[in-house]
Structures are given as structure tokens and as C-alpha cells.
């Protein structure tokens, strides 16, 4: 057995793979691994591509700092958002040899991965390190199941409303503070700027619709004990859906082409200066001005208004850094800590235009009073919401239940009530199957 391990290690060596393969196995056999002694070991790290325009220099610095601290190296492998979930699932199925040691995990994936026992429960480590009280509550909650926290919040984002400041000023419009104002503003825009889309009701964008469900006092689903039940057809939810889809069907502030749009197409339309006002993430303004410099200085942002003032809740999404159940758990936790706290957490947030997962770091950003950042920070701290924390909801999202509902309403195929009832039925079927 041992000989085979050595042989395998040396074959790997001759194949020109990591020179540390032999050394790594020795360390594992002796189990001598002290906490900070990572000499000769290498951690595999999976990071999502696209959050940071150029993450290479950042990880070079992290790698150097980590090696200085523990002696271990890191090997970063970049993954695509579109395919990563499947890749993770396959790796988890393959077990310890195939999963990374540390990975960026989208908050909505945490329940699914945790259920397979692939992720390390770090609740005690977080407490021991004195980090527990500084984490943004909504984010901490998103990765905590049955009291166990599966990783550290790394960065987060939230959607609010992005609008064309120049157009609003031209027509003396004010950013909306209630739903009525939102509706009236959009209608005025339709009249005065017929070439622009006043407010896209994008049929393929789930998180464009959810603020109105939450804002009307409704919910996607509610938990009772360990059972989930859909609430998307509750009277409040229906009221929210009615308002949101009504913007397209009654007020016609969103043309038919938008019916099949996802957030990507909305972004493309921003880049072509075709939009006056839309729901957008804290990462949106920079993405737009990068692609379309003409709009520099012409964008504004405002939290999504509440029905009669205040704010409607908006999805608080983000990424965790989680350690997987491999034989390098202790080292992995060291890396997670290094990246999600202090200097590196702040640097990552700055480079990516996202928000860090710690209150102390978030406060620093809020204090800068940037008009394109502050509204989002406000939305995140005061009106962030998460989707149902269960593996089933990931499946509901992947089967496009909410977007399917919105699309069938705005294309006129079914009434709000019928569509909501069907969505509720679809959700309950998936909830029932998973319990």
C-alpha cells in the first residue's frame, strides 16, 4: 500500500506534476501536521471567474502571504459561474481526491453541498477566532444550517435601482420612494423618452421580481419546523407580483422583447444606452461605465422603494469561502481566515466593487459616502433578504419556477393568480420530494 503511494507520488513527479506530491503524502502518513506547519503542502483553491476583472495579482499576494505564514502553497483554479455547480456536484461525488481544499461557494449552494457532508463545519473555529460577532447577519445566516456554519462570508452584493441621472434631471424627475412613484416615473419616462426602456420587467431575472414579493409582505416560502411550504401564492405575494408584472402588462413600461430577457440582456441594453431605469446590482454601475464610458457620471442609484415608503427587501447574495473535508482541513481554515478578514477581505471588496462580509469593513465603505455605493450599502444593511435556506430551493431556482411564473404572466398566457398557484404547486412538489 505504502509502496504504491510512493510509486504513485514519484510517477506524478516524473510526469512533471507538483514536486510536492511525495512530501505531501509523507506528512499525511505521519499525521504530524502541526497547525501552522504546511511546509511542502499545496492547497487547491477554486475561485469563480468574473467577480474580479483580474484576480491573478490578488492571488499572487495571497499565495505569498500564506506561504510566509504556514509554509504551504496555494494553487488557484478558476471556475465559471454557469457550470461550477455541476462541477462541484461531480467532484463531491468523487470524494476527497477530487474536491478542492478551499473553494468559493455561492451562498445558495451552501445548503446543497453541506447536506452531502462535503463542507467543514467551522462554527467553533469562527467563535475561537473572535469573528462571530462581526459578521453581517444576513450573510452569516445564509451559510448556517441547524446552527452549523459552513464557511466564512467572503463578499456579498445586493440589487437596488440604477437610473439615468441625466435623463431624470432633464425631465425634473426624482428617484422613486414608493411603488406609486415608481410606476408614475416609469410612465413619464415612457412618454418623454420613447426610445428608452422605462423599467424592464425581465422575464428571465428572478431577483428583479423578488423585491416586489417581499416588499408587499409576501414570501417565496415559509419554514415550519424542518418543512418548507410555498408562500408565493399568498395574498400579499400575489399583490406584489401583480404590481411588478402590471408594469409590463398594464402600464407597458417594458416592451415585449424584455419578456425573455435575463440580467445579461438587461446589461447589454445598458451598454447600448437603451435603459432609463432598472433593477441592478452594486456591481452594475461600474460594469456599465466600463463597457459604455459615455454614461460615466450619468448614473444614479437608489434603494428599491417600499410599497408606501421605506425599502423593499432585496436578495442579499454572495459567496462563502468554505473548506472541504480533505486531509488538509486545518491549513484550509487558515487560508479561509486570511482571505475573509482584514487586509485581504478589504482589498478584494475594493477590487471587485462588492461588499465585504464583516460589519467593521462594511462600515468603512459606507463612511466613504460614494453616491453609487451608499444606496447599495444601505439596502444591504437594512433591507437584505435571503431565499429559503434549503437544498430544495436551489432546485426550484434551477427549474426556473419564479421566472417561469413571471414569463407566463407578462406574455399573457395566464392570470397572476393561476401562475402563482402553479408556481406554488411546483415548489411544493420539490419541497416534498426532498424531505
Amino acid at each position: 500500500m505504502k509502496r504504491r503511494v510512493i510509486a504513485a507520488g514519484c510517477i506524478a513527479l516524473t510526469l512533471g506534476l507538483t514536486a510536492t506530491a511525495c512530501g505531501g503524502d509523507d506528512g499525511g502518513d505521519g499525521d504530524s501536521g502541526g497547525k501552522a506547519d504546511g511546509k511542502g503542502k499545496t492547497l487547491t483553491v477554486w475561485i469563480m471567474e468574473g467577480t474580479n476583472p483580474d484576480p491573478r495579482p490578488f492571488f499572487k499576494e495571497v499565495g505569498a502571504a500564506f506561504e510566509k505564514k504556514t509554509g504551504a502553497k496555494i494553487k488557484v483554479e478558476y471556475q465559471q459561474w454557469a457550470t461550477a455547480q455541476k462541477k462541484f456536484t461531480t467532484a463531491i461525488e468523487g470524494g476527497e481526491d477530487q474536491v478542492p481544499d478551499v473553494a468559493e461557494v455561492g451562498t445558495t449552494w451552501v445548503p446543497q453541498f453541506a447536506e452531502t457532508d462535503a463542507l467543514v463545519d467551522v462554527t467553533d473555529d469562527v467563535k475561537k477566532s473572535g469573528l462571530a460577532n462581526d459578521l453581517v447577519e444576513g450573510l452569516k445566516d445564509a451559510g448556517t444550517l441547524d446552527g452549523k456554519q459552513y464557511g466564512m462570508p467572503w463578499y456579498a452584493g445586493v440589487r437596488s435601482i440604477v437610473y439615468r441621472k441625466d435623463i431624470f434631471e432633464k425631465h425634473k424627475l426624482k428617484p422613486p420612494t414608493t411603488w406609486k412613484e415608481l410606476q408614475a416615473t416609469a410612465k413619464t419616462l415612457k412618454e418623454k423618452e420613447p426610445d428608452l426602456i422605462p423599467f424592464p420587467v425581465a422575464g428571465g431575472a428572478e431577483m428583479f421580481a423578488t423585491p416586489f414579493i417581499w416588499g408587499a409582505g409576501g414570501d417565496l416560502a415559509t419554514q415550519d419546523g424542518d418543512k418548507w411550504k410555498s408562500a408565493i401564492n399568498s395574498p400579499q405575494s400575489i399583490k406584489g407580483i401583480e404590481f411588478y408584472t402590471g408594469l409590463a402588462t398594464k402600464d407597458k413600461v417594458s416592451p415585449a422583447k424584455v419578456n425573455t430577457w435575463t440580467e445579461k440582456e438587461v446589461g447589454d441594453a445598458w451598454n447600448k444606452s437603451q435603459i432609463a431605469m432598472a433593477i441592478g446590482g452594486n456591481w452594475t454601475p461600474k460594469a456599465i461605465t466600463d463597457a459604455n464610458p459615455k454614461l460615466k457620471g450619468k448614473l444614479g442609484a437608489v434603494p428599491i422603494p417600499g410599497q408606501n415608503g421605506g425599502m423593499s427587501k432585496s436578495f442579499l447574495g454572495g459567496s462563502y469561502l468554505s473548506a472541504f473535508n480533505t486531509d488538509k482541513k486545518e491549513l484550509a481554515w487558515e487560508l479561509v481566515k486570511l482571505m475573509t478578514t482584514g487586509e485581504f477581505a478589504a482589498k478584494w471588496a475594493k477590487q471587485t466593487n462588492y461588499f465585504p462580509g464583516q460589519n467593521s469593513e462594511l462600515k468603512k465603505i459606507e463612511a466613504q459616502k460614494d453616491p453609487l455605493v451608499e444606496p447599495f450599502a444601505k439596502q444591504m444593511i437594512e433591507a437584505g433578504a435571503t431565499v429559503p435556506k434549503t437544498k430544495a430551493y436551489g432546485e426550484i431556482q434551477a427549474s426556473k419556477v419564479v421566472t417561469g411564473m413571471v414569463q407566463s404572466i407578462i406574455t399573457g398566457k395566464s392570470s397572476v393568480k393561476d401562475a402563482a398557484n402553479k408556481a406554488a404547486k411546483d415548489m411544493d412538489e420539490i419541497f416534498a420530494k426532498d424531505k
Partner: protein, 330 residues
């Protein structure tokens, strides 16, 4: 002695062996029998091993999976056998009979019909062209064939994209539609219309090239004789061309049928085709959504098995027709 005998056998065939009936001949005959038995298998072995590894084994796994309720776990998932539950769920659902199967079947037949018709027409055209135009036309249809399905699909999506796409604007300027209120992708019929154009555009070059190859084998004399008998072009096509290269038509039809039944990419990538709009599910997309969106691997596998059986049934019918055709020719 024996060795040289053996090698001679191999090269000179059985008639020379029978002319030397001796003890050696008896052994040689047995060896020969063994060789005739094993040789085809030996020759087939590489292909069979590849087929078993890449086709049969996954097929068995999918069959097994379709009888299970499968849960992914760290280091290897757990399947519980649930009998034919996945199949009963699948076959008793409204979605399958009212949406998924009709979409799959009608779409496939429309695509096959149009692909073969267009491909044949293009082949006839190519057959009549001079060398320069033949080259130009062949290259341009091969370009359509060589285009990856993903790229081709996006081009068609752009052309038909509501309000901004070229086709939408043309139709709007001719007064056929109101571009601001029309979205082709949300209704079943226009959605599949666009998908059909896309699939036919991608599939007809293969038919054209294959049929052209068949056309080149038809002796010119047949047409001359036909012309003398007073047959017009239409009659010559149906009475001479079609019967002579019927096997070619059968092959391209079988292949097109198989390809068009399992179309996935072209549907999945279209707006609304990835699950938002259940009206446009076909079997491939449905199986994918069940398995990889809902993580219900068993149900997805059952849908995949159903698709396989459907294809198998169609192929068997075609192959039997093909063989019957071959016997008639003898």
C-alpha cells in the same frame, strides 16, 4: 511444415485446403475452423471494446439510475431502488403527453422532412452546376455544416430577436407584426419555427453531400433512355433518381431522424428554452431539467431511457425497410 501450411491456408483460401485431405489437413481444418470463428471477433474487438466502454456501460448505468432515487453524497452517492416509480410518474404526467412528446415528435418530423427535401434539392442543383459554381456552392453549404450548433443558434436568435433583430424589423416594416409587442420566443409555434430553421440549416448540407454522392453513381444512360421515352424532369426524378438511390435516402432519413429527435443545444440556448417556458420542453431538455436542475437523477434517466427506446423503435423500422429494400434489389 505445419507453419508454412497454415500460412498458405490463410492466403489461398478453402478450395486449396480441401484438395489435400490428410492428417495434417484435418488439424489444419480444425485450426481453420477456429480461425473463422475467432477472426471476426478479433477484428471487431477494438471497436467492440470502445463501444462497450463508451456506449453500453453508460446505457446500463442510465437504465439502473432510472430505477433509483439517487442522492449525491461526499465520496459517492447513494441510490435506493424504487422499482418503476420514475416511469409511472413520467408516463402518467400531463406534461409528457401534452407538451414534451408532441414537441419532440412533430419537431423531429418537420425537421427531417425539410432537411431531406432541401438537401435533395441542393444536391440536384449541385449536380447540374459547372465546376466553378459547384465549388462556390459546396463551400458555402459546408460552412453552414461546419458551424458549431451553439454559434449557429445564437446567430438565429439574433436574427429573430424581438424588436431589434433583422427579421423582426423586416416583418415590422412590411406591417406583418408590431415589433414592440411581438416576442417570437414566448409562443410554442414561432419558437419551434425558429428552431426548425436553425436545425434544418445546420443539417441539410450533410444530406446534400450524401445525396450528391448517390446521384453521381446513376448511369447517364438511364436518363437518356427516359428522355427518349418522353419523360419530363419531374418524372425522371421520381421514376429514375429516387428508385436508384433509395438506400441513400433511407440512410440520410434514419440519421436525420436520430439527430432531430435528440436536439438539445438548439432548444436549450433559445430564450425561454432553458426551463422558463415549459410549453417548449422537448424530451432532451425535459430530461436535463429533471436530472440536473431538480437533481432528480432517476426521473431524468427515465426520460432519457424513453428517448432511447423511441429512437430504437424508429431505427428498427427503418433498418427493416432498408433490408427489405436490399432483398428486392437482389
Amino acid at each position: 511444415m505445419l507453419v508454412s501450411d497454415g500460412s498458405k491456408d490463410g492466403s489461398s483460401g478453402s478450395s486449396s485446403l480441401r484438395s489435400h485431405p490428410s492428417d495434417d489437413g484435418e488439424r489444419a481444418r480444425r485450426r481453420k475452423k477456429l480461425t473463422t470463428l475467432t477472426r471476426p471477433w478479433l477484428l471487431l474487438a477494438p471497436a467492440l471494446i470502445v463501444l462497450i466502454g463508451l456506449l453500453l456501460w453508460p446505457l446500463i448505468q442510465v437504465g439502473k439510475l432510472s430505477l433509483q432515487d439517487y442522492v449525491v453524497k461526499f465520496g459517492g452517492g447513494k441510490g435506493t431502488y424504487t422499482g418503476f416509480d420514475n416511469y409511472t410518474d413520467l408516463l402518467t404526467g400531463d406534461l409528457l403527453w401534452k407538451t414534451v412528446l408532441p414537441n419532440t415528435v412533430f419537431f423531429a418530423f418537420a425537421c427531417v422532412g425539410l432537411t431531406v427535401a432541401l438537401g435533395t434539392a441542393v444536391a440536384l442543383l449541385l449536380n447540374r452546376l459547372g465546376p466553378t459554381w459547384k465549388l462556390i456552392c459546396s463551400v458555402s453549404i459546408l460552412a453552414a455544416w461546419a458551424m458549431p450548433a451553439v454559434t449557429g443558434t445564437y446567430v438565429w436568435i439574433w436574427l429573430f430577436s424581438p424588436e431589434d433583430g433583422m427579421v423582426s424589423q423586416l416583418a415590422d416594416s412590411m406591417g406583418l407584426i408590431d415589433a414592440e409587442t411581438t416576442n417570437w420566443f414566448t409562443e410554442r409555434l414561432p419558437f419551434y419555427g425558429i428552431a426548425t430553421i436553425n436545425v434544418v440549416h445546420h443539417g441539410f448540407p450533410f444530406v446534400a453531400i450524401t445525396v450528391l454522392a448517390g446521384l453521381l453513381t446513376i448511369p447517364k444512360e438511364l436518363y437518356e433512355a427516359g428522355e427518349i421515352d418522353g419523360a419530363n424532369a419531374w418524372q425522371r426524378f421520381w421514376k429514375i433518381t429516387v428508385p436508384t438511390i433509395k438506400p441513400v435516402f433511407l440512410v440520410v432519413t434514419i440519421l436525420s431522424t436520430i439527430w432531430d429527435f435528440k436536439v438539445f443545444t438548439q432548444i436549450f440556448l433559445m430564450p425561454g428554452g432553458g426551463g422558463e417556458n415549459p410549453d417548449v420542453y422537448n424530451l432532451g431538455v425535459y430530461s436535463y431539467i429533471e436530472a440536473f436542475a431538480k437533481n432528480d437523477y432517476g426521473a431524468g434517466a427515465a426520460a432519457a431511457v424513453l428517448l432511447t427506446l423511441l429512437l430504437l423503435a424508429i431505427t428498427v423500422v427503418y433498418i427493416r425497410t432498408l433490408f427489405r429494400q436490399g432483398e428486392e434489389d437482389l
